[in-house]
Each structure stands twice: as structure tokens, then as C-alpha cells.
Point group: C2
Chain length 105, copies 2
């Protein structure tokens, strides 16, 4: 079975302590074994129509849907999720099995 991506887009509230939350998230994913990789970034397109106001993307990779489920229900994730949701205006989440195409140079 292939890897599965857990993609979260968020728009933080103006008053949110974004740096603190990002550090908390980095700590969280480093402490939960099933997280294979973690990356994030801040939107640079800043196209209100195309980006629908989302400011940050978070991309986590898991070895299987079971590992993702383990992460989602992990007590540390549940606790972090509460703080995270309190700091955001909106959120979007999609999980997808990775289909990759090698690009020949």
C-alpha cells in the first residue's frame, strides 16, 4: 500500500500566535512516530479568488491510512487540534493516496 498525504489549508485569525502554533505543530509531528514527513508553507500567490483566503498549507505524509488514523486520534493531536481551531478563521482538509509521476529531465 502506498503513502497517503494529509493536506490541511488554514486561514489564521489576525490575532493568532502563528509562530507559536507552527512550533507546536513541529513538536507534535516529531513526537508522533507514524508521521513520515512534514512540510508547510505560507501562500505566496495571494490570489484571493484562487486561494480563497487560505494563508498556510500543511502537508503530512503517512505510510498508510491506518497510520493517518493513528495520528488523527492521538491524544497530543487532539489537544493540539483544539488550540489550532481556536486560532483559525477557516480550514480545509483533504487526504489522498499519492500518485506520482517521475519527471524525466
Amino acid at each position: 500500500m502506498g503513502s497517503i498525504r494529509h493536506l490541511v489549508l488554514a486561514k489564521f485569525k489576525d490575532e493568532a500566535a502563528v509562530e507559536e502554533l507552527l512550533q507546536g505543530l513541529q513538536k507534535l509531528v516529531s513526537e508522533i512516530d507514524v508521521v513520515k514527513s512534514f512540510e508547510w508553507g505560507e501562500d505566496v500567490l495571494k490570489d484571493e479568488r484562487l486561494g480563497q483566503g487560505f494563508t498556510h498549507a500543511f502537508l503530512l505524509t503517512f505510510g498508510s491510512a491506518e497510520d493517518l488514523a493513528t495520528y488523527i486520534k492521538h491524544p497530543s493531536h487532539v489537544a493540539f487540534g483544539k488550540a489550532f481551531r481556536a486560532a483559525i478563521d477557516k480550514i480545509l482538509a483533504i487526504d489522498f493516496p499519492v500518485v506520482t509521476n517521475e519527471i524525466s529531465a
Copy 2:
């Protein structure tokens, strides 16, 4: 300068020829040199609230914002974009420089 991700979420119309479009996209990205990697997947979360109805995620990686701009304005991309937009109910796009955290096992 680090890599930049070009993330697109789409919800296809019921009658869209999704397979054909996916093949067209794979052909497109393989023909445009600046695309460093391409992956996509179909949402398995199927959470109408969290996923806001988006059914597919596309994740392209470029070496720089300049390379991404080259891709966006490439005539083949512009032509494909027309067919793509005709087949979707909605789209969301975000570009973000990759911030990665190594996960120690």
C-alpha cells in the same frame, strides 16, 4: 533559493472526462522542463465540511518562483487550463515555498 509547491484542488463536474484530463495533465507536466515533480491524488476523506467538496489534489514542485511563472505562462499550460477549467465546478490554488522538517524515526 528553495523549492516552491504549486497546489491545486479541484472539484470536477459530474460529466467531466476526468481520466482524459489526468492523462493530459501528466503529458503536460512531462513536456514542460521546469516541472521538477508532479503528484496527484483523489480525496479519500470525503468529509464535505472539511474538504469543501474538492475531489482531487495536484501538487507540482518547481525549483524557483521563476520556474513556476514559466510553467503558468507556457502555451501548453494555457491551452490545457482552458480544457481543465471547462471541466471543473471549482478550483483552489495556493503556491508556497517548502519548509520541511526532517522526522527522525
